[in-house]
């Protein structure tokens, strides 16, 4: 009997280890394999039992359900996993193997299409590799949406004794967990993507800057790098090609701003994680002053499938200039939260109401914050906005890393706006004044608004303009998005208190 249970930290957080212990005790002869999560977090821990070669799901499982799962009588039976609506409606390219394979078994990885992309890239010239990424239309999935191939071209064209690939795995945005999920569920994809990037631009060394808040991801990635090195995927002779690429996992130290690429590079160098002014671009003067590709986890983890199936295959999905798939992370106060990978173009409302099933509390949805703490609060009236970089920009928001945090009608938007400023004040690196001082003044100004001071609102607007225009990076520059979107779309939450005071 083959049983699959996720070792993803969301599954663990919901009791997967207790379920595994109960399974081991009740069925000592069964083969229990650990996988990543399928992304249906509301069903975790999701136990899968292989029956006639088909994996059947049971969830959310508790230790008390084990007997029923083993004899097939459990009321938590979901049927074949692949037949579930949530799975069938997805286009899983980047996440194809997550939840399916043993994350730390390289032959399992290879049996599911792993290493095919790298094998195709090995005989290609650097320029051909860069051209393939350009043709795929892949844009940076960390939030900025900059074309990945253009960034690689700059590093490729730079002349330097040493170049680097740095993976930004400092996924600090609330409402996002795709990076964590893929690092815990399919770490070799990221390793393969970084190796291809190294071949493309001529870099022989890579670093994954992984936040310390993710101990499980750090453990899995560290082990995966050791395995890849031992089996010749990394090292001086990648898959026997004579070409070199190796990498290290580096742990962050709890600073949100280090998700910004230049402060990440400073941190990686062992300095304070303060933002660097651009230019020079990291592509020309990055880690230790050398040309450096800095890409998000999902961008790099998508590279293998582009090389496995071809750039055109990937580019055929999507909307407008947003090509390929977007890995939606549905979070917060939502009935069905999790990860859903689909072509760009799906509407915000479909994601929240149809996929997510509305709020978890059953209250009406009030707002959805899209793109993390620096993303705008989108009201229900904007639910027809399609998920695409330009489309969201036009609607006054940003898709960022495609995390969506749902809030119900009990949410006080003034409180959320205040939190955005407070968070910016706590996490500001301190280099530029609009962010360092502006965030503190923002909290004070919002407190004045809460006390009913009518003169404070224009001040807040003015302050937000200064922060947006004058900050060095997205922390100070984008904090106005959640603040001003709350003010604009939910004026009652800012006016109500004023009237009460009058």
């Amino acid at each position: 009997m083959k049983i699959y249970v996720p070792m993803d930290s969301a599954a663990k957080a919901l009791g997967a280890e207790e379920v595994v212990a109960a399974l081991r005790e009740a069925a000592p002869e069964a083969e229990i394999l650990r996988t990543g999560t399928r992304g249906m977090i509301w069903l975790e821990p999701l136990v899968e039992v292989e029956i006639d070669g088909v994996r059947h799901g049971f969830g959310p499982a508790e230790p008390g359900d084990v007997a029923g799962i083993l004899d097939g009588s459990s009321t938590k039976a979901l049927g074949p996993i692949e037949e579930l609506d949530w799975m069938k409606r997805q286009t899983r390219l980047t996440f194809a193997r997550v939840g399916v394979v043993d994350p730390l078994n390289l032959s399992d990885y290879a049996a599911h299409g792993g290493l095919e992309g790298l094998k195709r890239a090995l005989p290609m010239s650097g320029q051909d590799i860069v051209d393939e990424v350009k043709a795929s239309g892949l844009r940076g999935r960390g939030g900025a949406g900059f074309p990945t191939g253009i960034k690689w071209q700059t590093v490729h064209d730079a002349d330097a004794p040493q170049k680097y690939i740095v993976c930004n795995a400092d996924e600090g945005d609330s409402g996002t967990f795709a990076d964590r999920m893929i690092m815990e569920g399919d770490p070799f994809t990221l390793i393969e993507g970084m190796a291809i990037a190294g071949l493309g631009v001529g870099a022989t060394k890579g670093y994954v800057y992984l936040r310390s808040e993710y101990p499980d991801a750090i453990a899995v990635m560290t082990r995966a790098v050791q395995i890849a090195r031992a089996q010749g995927v990394l090292g001086p002779d990648v898959l026997g090609s004579g070409r070199a690429f190796d990498m290290e996992i580096r742990k962050g130290a709890g600073a949100y701003v280090c998700g910004e690429e230049t402060s990440l590079l400073n941190s990686l160098e062992g300095k304070r994680g303060v933002v660097r002014a651009k230019p020079p671009l990291p592509a020309l003067e990055g880690f230790l002053g050398q040309p450096t590709v800095v890409n998000n986890v999902i961008s790099l983890a998508t590279v293998p499938v582009i090389f496995e199936k071809g750039a055109q295959f990937y580019a055929d999905f999507g909307l407008g200039r947003s090509r390929g798939t977007v890995t939606l992370q549905i979070a917060g106060n939502v009935a069905r939260g999790g990860l859903f990978e689909t072509a760009f173009g799906i509407s915000l409302g479909e994601v929240v109401n149809d996929l997510g099933g509305g709020s978890a509390t059953g209250h009406p949805v009030k707002a959805v914050q899209v793109g993390g703490p620096l993303g705008a609060y989108m009201p229900v009236s904007k639910f027809d906005t399609p998920l695409g970089y330009e489309e969201f920009d036009a609607a006054g928001g940003l898709i960022g890393h495609a995390g969506l945090t749902v809030f119900d009608d009990t949410t006080d938007m003034l409180g959320m706006a205040r939190f955005a400023m407070e968070f910016c004040a706590v996490e500001s690196c301190g280099k530029c004044t609009p962010c360092r001082i502006g965030a503190v003044r923002g909290v004070e100004t919002l407190d004045r608004i809460a006390e009913g001071d009518a003169e404070a609102l224009p001040l807040l607007t003015d302050l937000c303009e200064t922060m947006q225009d004058g900050s060095l990076c997205a922390l100070g520059g984008f904090t106005p998005f959640p603040v001003m979107s709350a003010v604009t779309h939910f004026p009652d939450d800012f006016a109500r208190l004023k009237e009460a005071a009058e």
Partner: protein, 158 residues
């Protein structure tokens, strides 16, 4: 994490410093290793670090104080981190944390009187689809409520 009382051994400091010197950008991994060994970054390590990496004490202090993770004194035997970020707030983490701190009579970063648990805020554990989230040492917990927190604290001996 049960090592707040660990004696500070100068030789061990030197070994840890030495082991990290060949890395590119050695300081963060080095500080993490010291904290792993002693539970905090002991002041006795400052001079050997500065000497080995050729940086000033001011630069070192700048780095240690910049990052939330590094401590200059031991924490409680266990560290409980409670997520304060938006996704957790959407399902009531703020009230949950307030209740816990009031019950323990602590502020953020405070340690219980018996030295067992330090309570810290964290901004996102990546468990946003099963919020509110918390982490006791390296063990993650999702859909946290007051009862689950009580159980965690009882297990930790707080």
């Amino acid at each position: 994490m049960a090592h707040p009382a660990t004696a500070i051994d100068a030789e061990e400091i030197d070994q840890i410093v030495e082991a990290h010197c060949t890395l590119e950008g050695p300081l963060l991994p080095l500080l993490h290793a010291l904290q792993e060994a002693f539970g905090y970054v002991p002041a006795q390590a400052h001079e050997p670090i500065c000497k080995a990496l050729n940086i000033t004490r001011a630069e070192l202090h700048g780095v240690i104080s910049f990052y939330h993770d590094y401590r200059d004194k031991p924490a409680g035997r266990h560290v409980l981190k409670i997520c304060r970020a938006e996704a957790c707030q959407s399902v009531g983490s703020a009230a949950l944390a307030e209740g816990l701190l009031a019950k323990l009579g602590l502020d953020w970063h405070g340690t219980t009187a018996n030295g067992t648990v330090t309570v810290e805020p964290v901004y996102c554990l990546g468990l946003c689809a099963c919020a509110p989230a918390a982490m006791m040492d390296d063990r993650v917990v999702g859909r946290v409520d007051a009862a689950k927190l009580d159980r965690l604290l009882a297990e930790a001996g707080a």
